[in-house]
Amino acid sequence: MPVLDVQNLRAGYRGAPIIEDLSFGVEPGEIFGVLGPNGSGKTTLLKAISKALRPRGGRILLNGNDLSGMTQLALSRAVAVVPQVTHVEFSFTAREIAAMGRNPHQKRMAFDDAEDERIVRESMEATETWHLRDRPFRVLSGGESQRVLVARCLAQRCALMLLDEPTAHLDIKYQAEIFNLLRGLRDKRGITIVVSTHDLNMAAMVCDRVLLMRRGSRAALGAPREVITPDAVREVFDAPVRVNTDPDTGAPFVVPDYLVFGKLRSGLEPLLVNSWTYQSDR
């Protein structure tokens, strides 16, 4: 049985339907990528799955239970979210931020007990952030704060983790770090991970399966090498690309086709074609 089963989902905002009739399932223990250009409905989909947005049609099942019948508290014990950005205005330390993941499990007036502290420590160690524990969250680098937020999700003891563009603001070193971390969590803890991204190459290397979205509906679904094909990417992203194969992993590898871009720009063609030709020859 799939962990997450999205059936004929329709979702969006008043006067702006974003997701139209979308169906797919996520199997236990897989890293599931949600791909698509900006505005294709990736964030809206994650919001619907985390109940931040009420579906306008269809339904979402979590381990066979309809999401609409679950309280926010019950959901937050099973599903954890790393949002695109988290601004922390107060000087909470990294440990305090990670410990907030215990919130859905604690009694109202209770302070963290020994068990909570053990779980927080273990979660921070798993994401290699324990050494940052006493630093204010606000001064951490992009990669560090992402890892602390992942630790917060682990402290939530979730079975399903949703990440919205986790690498959008990170440089290449931290991008690799986050994806390695996600793979480690999947392998060691069996956590199911749904990650939205527009980084096709990273998704091709990390994800077990990917969903390619086009204007709120499903363009393709399957293993990265089946989905990320030149035709599919050209059509969905409306961009000329070439898809190579990574020599080490065999994963598809997408590069923008600069030559075609150059030719498309009218008026400046002679100049551009020359310069792009020069680049692609080199």
Partner: protein, 340 residues
Amino acid sequence: MKKQLGRFSFVMFILAAVLCAVILLSLCLGQEPISPARAWGYIRDAFAGRGGDEPERIILLSLRWPRLLSGIIAGACLAVAGAVFQGLLRNPLAEPYILGVSSGAALGVAAGIILEVHLLLGFYTIPFLAVGGALFTMGLIYSLSRTGARFSMFSMILSGVIVNAIMSAAIMFIMSLSTDRQLHSIVFWLMGRLDIADARLNGLVGAVGAAAMLVIYYYARDLNVMTLGEDDAHYLGVNVERVKRILFIAASALTACAVSISGIIGFVGLLVPHFARALVGPDHRLSYPVAAVTGAALLCVADIVARTAAAPTEIPVGVVTALVGGPFFLLILKRKQSSF
């Protein structure tokens, strides 16, 4: 957590000692100084039910004691209200005064004074008008900054500032219509004084304030999570809209409590939460109690200054808090540019 709780206990112990010292000072100092030993004696007598008619005893028990109590209640209420507003709006400048809640309460009071309702309905009327004014203002700001089912914290501050200006203008308008005597008492409310309210109010206002603080403490951990933003709080299992609504009502009630016994006093609600966070960190479960005790002590100290600095004339305590608190706040801002 243990380390923080240890620090918290230590800070609370020191602050409690400071508050006790302030209470004693406040009872002893004034135009008619009373020695601590004699003050202690009068207090023991009062508890034991013994009385007397020495002028000192009367000054202490029926003038200074109620006034001190008003200071403690108003100070604690303002500080906690400020802490809640700052946490909810995720803005270090939020406080009852800036959001217009204080002006709303004062408008209620001014309207009551010019209509002379308190002469007809008794001394409870004025505080009820303050509560009504504060809740009305909060409701107004709340509905103004609302779009659909949710509302934005940013437009809340913006509409707060505007509503504040409108309320102030309405107060001026009422003042322009009032007689000299009415004008005098309205001005007293606007400047903030601890000797304006009927002493019998302290019990009622104290009880309402304490209840609001308990409600707020009950939601303190939710508010911690909400400082990460509403989406994150939602993901961590907090019923965001409900907690927001309850906390806004509770903090507005606290503001109204303070205004009903002391008039408008600025800067306590702004300054004290910063001070509390600097002492015990941003965790609201720890910073609320610290803010409450600090606010109480601070307002009492300000009142001592107000009574003694220019004796025999009294300076309004709201003027003291603004004159001392403003520059102090700027100093902190300058030294700790980024963190709050």
